[in-house]
Amino acid sequence: MGLLTNHRRRRWRAEPAEQPDPRAQTTARLNILKLVVVVAFVALAVQLANLQLVRGHEFQQRAQLNQLRIEPIIPARGLIYDRNGVQLVDNVPSFSAVVVAADIPKARTLEIADGLQQLLGVPPLETTLKIEQARRSNDPFAPVIIKDGLDQTTAFRLREELSHLPGVQIAVEPVRHYLHGNIMSDVLGFTGRIDPQEFAALKSKGYIPSDRLGKAGVEATYEQYLRGVPGRKEIEKDATGREIRTLAQDPAKPGDTVVLSIDYDLQKKTTELLQKAANGGQAAAVVMDVHTGEVLALVSLPTYDGNTFSGKVDAAKYQQYLNDPNKPLVNHAISEEYAPGSIFKQITGTAALQEGVATTSTTIAANGYILVPNEYNPSILYRFNDWRSFGNLDFYGGVAWSSDVYFYYLAGGYHWYGQNFNGLGVDRLARYARDYGLGSKTGIDLTGEAAGNIPDPAWKQKTFGDVWTLGDTYNMAIGQGFVTATPIQMVRVTVAVANGGTLFVPRVVREVRDAQGHVIVPNVPKVARQLPISAANFAIMRQAMMDSVSWGAATAAHVNDLAIAGKTGTAEFGNPGANGVSDTHAWFTGFAPANNPQLAVTVFLEKGIGGVNAAPIGAQILDYYFHRPPQATAPAAAPPQGIAQP
């Protein structure tokens, strides 16, 4: 029955197939649409599964990268104190307007540039260019400075407008403030924005393009300690770059504390004394501890204010420094080479004693000049002048009066007019001078040191293509001619004389401590070498320098209640003027107390006479140090332990 029914139904259904039933056709077409629906959603589902299930992990990471940014935490720069705990630097906030190109909607670039013009006065074109450049760079997330050194009012006004300026941020960064302006600049140096070359070299050490670092002085030489260790923080940001919250933090380790060997009080006094004598010209003074080589004062004039370069560089002041013929940015105490003049006689004298060329009783007739006949034509006479006529002088008299003739004999000898005095000769003199550290850098922990020059025949041949003459040796004996040296080199010579032959590597930093007060770099004197000169011979030189202050050429260095030993120098430089007289550098180098040396000083004035202008300054510096009121002489202890960091 069922079979029959089926059969009949099929037949009935099959009939219209020859003449299509519109209803069946419609159903077929609607089924096509159903199929289209299914195919469409399957296609969507497949692609969705590809994104969410197959590649889900990859996109999860990208979503995290999107909102998480690792930003460096710049550590608080280490502070610097003088040897008595006087704070010399501070960190103060500086505001700058920065943009993060990645956070600026492209369509709003112009609008934002206009807004910044209204608030900051920065030309919109400049801003747009910076943004475009950053967009195309490798790291569109790196903040680009639009304007730095904003005053607080502007910074706060900008802060209020930030919600309308997506991608704009206010960066607050600590900058150095030098508490004592011009007094410490040549020791401390300054900090400044990292430049592209420095950044390329220091990138691996965690520096960022907008970083600051020490550019000169202690700020530069102790950069690795002062900087500290940058930290990192992981922050969540929204699409406009606003910080939502900090997720993780690896705090920065603040910079270490640097304790200078400088005595701020003495440094200040030295600056004042030198300023009076320098008359706006170049001058320098260095005070050194005789037993450790620590520098207690280092002054170079004219100087500059380190604050000029902190934060936003004061362009006008910078230009003024550059235009000053006396080069305030150059450290005249270590970077400038001058003829040392008669203070070089410390070297000639001790070398002659040590080599047996002279004894204390070597007497030479110093009658104002000596004559030397030409080697090939004896009728030609060369005349070598002294600054005065003295008659017969022994070693003490020769040093004390700073007789040039006496030292011509010691260095070059004299073999004419019936005399036969054998001198050191250039080679031995040069060797001693180099032992004393001249002609090479002292290795002081400051930037830009110069080496000076100790000449010899080979050097002259190489430099001028000329042979060495006796006259060259005579000039060298009195620190003239081709000899040049820096004040720091010369004070070191005097320190070696005073302490009996120890040549130190000078230091302006006593020690370095970490933020907890633990000493990292201890206060240990660094000895360059022991000079090959006997203690007895140094004692003779010390006595002779004492005599010079007592009754010789350096009596201007006499002060009451303090035995000072010293040596003056007056070195000609440049070409003789209209009156046939050259300008002279004034030098004084000395130490005190003469019988038990503790402190040495070297004073240099670009123009002046050693015994008139430089000697009193040196004496007043020593006098101040030994006689200043007790309250000013704080114990040479260090600053309090665990100095608080900002």
Binding site: P22, Q25, T26, T27, R29, L30, I32, L33, K34, V36, V37, V38, A40, F41, A43, L44, A45, Q47, L48, A49, L51, Q52, L53, R55, G56, H57, E58, F59, Q60, R62, A63, Q64, N66, Q67, A101, A102, I104, K106, R135, P140, E236, K237, D238, A239, T240, I244
Partner: protein
Amino acid sequence: MNLRNTPTHEFDYLLALAAVALTAYGALLIYSGSLATYGSPSAALSHPVSRQIAFAVVGVVAMLVLTRVDYRLFGPLSLTLYVLSLAGLVFVLVAGGSAYGSRRWISIGGTQVQASEIAKVCTVIMLAKFFADNEERVKSLRVFAISIAIVAVPAVLVVLEPDLGSAFVFLILWFGVALIAGVRKLHIAGLFALFAAAAPAAVLGVAAGYQKERISIWLDPGKDPLGTGFNILQAEISIGSGGLLGKGFTHGTQTQLDYLRTQTTDYIFSVGAEELGFIGAMVLFGLFVLLLFRCLRVAGHADDMFGRLIAVGVMTFILFQVFVNIGVNIRLVPVTGVPLPFVSQGGSSLITLLAALGILQSILGHRRKRSRRV
């Protein structure tokens, strides 16, 4: 008792339920997507969710009213409605409000009305009426050409806005309607050949600069990661990072931290995919498939060609918009500004769609009862 003239009063609850569920799904995503901008929905009436719910209420009322109205009434009205909607499109071009460089809406009583949304439904009715009137001559080239003209006019008008996405909607809904109306396959093939020949020229010459840029950036969004490519990349990241289960409602980092742009309109699907994951997206797909199948069921059950074609037209443009919108989100389709039906924020689209479903319910409910086939 004349059974033949008694309406069945059938109401397709599944169809209505699917529409309401999709609208609710959309409201939730709009809530999440606007949290970053608006915070939690205070009582403020201007909040996007409040507005969307208000539109939904208007739409449901419209749907219920139209359910009761015999859809055959639209037959005589079709030309008037069609001409009025074209006038609306012209008005948009002349005096419309603009966003992102194209004019797309007119302001009526402070509300932005997207004329193209209304025009879609009116064009469907016009097209259905035309094919129904010419059922016997449907194979003729003349009928074929006029039917194309009916969709071409509004399509050209929206292209001028410019809104290429909506223009495609008109062409696609024609295709769906024409297929069911039974036009000659040869004619359709000829039309396709014409399009294929013209397409390169259109892309090179006619398409607005922004369209060409969109296509080239769709192919390589990394070329401009912070500009136009930003949306494409961020949507892809949002969706992909949602994984199987999603990051949790209102916990999508991409959405809440504003990495997604236009996340309550064109990119609302990305919000759902990020926060509710693949599972949540499948629920959405299920609701759409249900809705579309129920629309096709209406077409299958319709008494006459007019009703059937309306149902097919509505179903076609919904399907196309869903496919294009989600396809843009998941980088299957070049960027085209088409809203996700029922889900995207926007009153014109939602009300029009719910009203259109009311017409479909009417088609179902105003069939003449037939006890048996004679």
